[in-house]
């Protein structure tokens, strides 16, 4: 093998240092990014699937509770309800939402004093705060690190909205976390809150 004429000895450390790296194969960067994006979508999809069971259960409870609540309020407190201007005009779809409240109104005329909390389901409540998908990703990760069942996150079928159902024990932590992302949940007693998810991919 040939050698440099003015230097019969080779410094291996220098040789290693000077050894150039290989260029990234053509197209690998794009392939990697596609892989990452696919992984991200898959994880979001898994979350949606995980939440499906919870949503189904919630819907069942909601319909049951809504039926009971409607009957109770109709029979017992119609006039009282009107005087309190409580909005009770829900579609069946809307009925899912009240189910997320952990404090269903118990029967009996006296308990109708609790009814003002239902004001939170009025139309104005649907002016939801906005969250970016990227932020949601981080929020989800952070909530997942909290003790088990800190919050249940329901994701809309088309990932266009999410509903947080926060367990009371973790509410302060989660509210602080959300406030960090500029999200201030409209909290009314023990009510859940709703967040509109905007996709910006």
């Amino acid at each position: 093998m040939n050698k440099k004429s003015n230097d019969d000895f080779v410094n291996i450390e220098k040789l290693l240092e000077d050894l150039p790296g290989h260029e990234l194969p053509m197209g690998l960067h794009d392939k990697i990014m596609r892989g990452v994006q696919a992984d991200r979508r898959k994880r979001l999809g898994l979350r949606a699937i995980k939440s499906f069971g919870a949503v189904a259960a919630a819907a069942f409870v909601a319909v049951f509770w809504f039926g009971w609540w409607h009957q109770a309020t109709t029979e017992i407190g119609e006039s009282l309800a009107e005087s309190q201007a409580v909005s009770m005009e829900y579609s069946l779809d809307d009925a899912v939402l009240p189910s997320l409240s952990p404090s269903p109104v118990a029967g009996g005329a006296g308990d109708l004093a609790a009814m003002p909390t239902l004001r939170t389901y009025d139309a104005e409540f649907y002016e939801m705060p906005t969250i970016y998908l990227e932020d949601f990703d981080m929020i989800f990760e952070k909530i997942a690190q909290l003790p088990h069942d800190a919050a249940t996150i329901f994701m809309g079928e088309e990932e266009n909205f999410i509903i947080f159902h926060i367990n009371d024990g973790n509410r302060p932590q989660i509210e602080r976390l959300l406030a960090g992302y500029g999200i201030h949940p409209p909290v009314f007693g023990e009510m859940d809150f709703f967040v509109d998810l905007i996709k910006i991919q």
Binding site: E17, D18, H22
Partner: protein, 188 residues
């Protein structure tokens, strides 16, 4: 907010910026540990996804370089364990790794040829070292990581890093001298 913080908040553009900055290192480190381009490409993709998933665990931009190196090293070691007994022989690896562009404008064509030959010998010799030595030499001598960083990445005490590095270099010199039939004489 720096690029890491943005990426940690889920900003894909920031993540891509980080990836662009480190993908060549990841690929080269993986290629030197795995010994072939296909595995290196697979490892690079795997590492990118691991980085994306675990970015929130990185505690600062200054630690990103070592953190990524550690993920890459672990991914390679896992892959090597899975492939145990299926190693390509070193000659095949050396042939594959010899496609290097060793170009220096200040060199004469003859000098470039000599350097290219040396590079080929060196890559071949490197592949004959155990993966743990390859990782040490690649990180310290080729990529310029500090002893402390190498120790952190490989989860070894600094003393062990230094002693293994010494032994690795000595072994590399011995292989290189033997491979070249004594044509290459090494300092030290």
């Amino acid at each position: 907010m720096n690029v890491l913080e943005k990426a940690q908040k889920g900003n894909m553009a920031a993540f891509e910026e980080i990836l662009t900055a480190y993908e060549k290192f990841i690929y080269n480190f993986a290629r030197r540990l795995m010994g072939n381009t296909e595995d290196a490409e697979d490892i690079t993709q795997e590492v990118a996804i691991k980085i994306y998933r675990n970015l929130h665990n990185c505690r600062g931009e200054g630690l990103l370089r070592a953190w990524i190196a550690r993920i890459t090293h672990n991914a390679c070691m896992d892959a090597l364990r899975r492939k145990k007994g299926k190693y390509q022989d070193s000659l095949e690896m050396a042939e594959e790794l010899s496609g290097l562009e060793l170009v220096d404008d200040t060199e004469s064509p003859e000098e470039t040829l000599v350097r290219k030959e040396l590079g080929q010998y060196l890559e071949g010799a490197l592949m004959q070292l155990p993966p743990s030595y390859r990782a040490l030499i690649t990180l310290r001598d080729m990529d310029g990581y500090s002893y402390e960083e190498v120790a952190e990445i490989l989860s070894l005490p600094i003393g062990t890093v230094k002693s293994r590095l010494f032994r690795g270099r000595a072994k590399l010199k011995s292989i290189l001298t033997e491979q070249s039939g004594g044509d290459i004489r090494l300092k030290g």
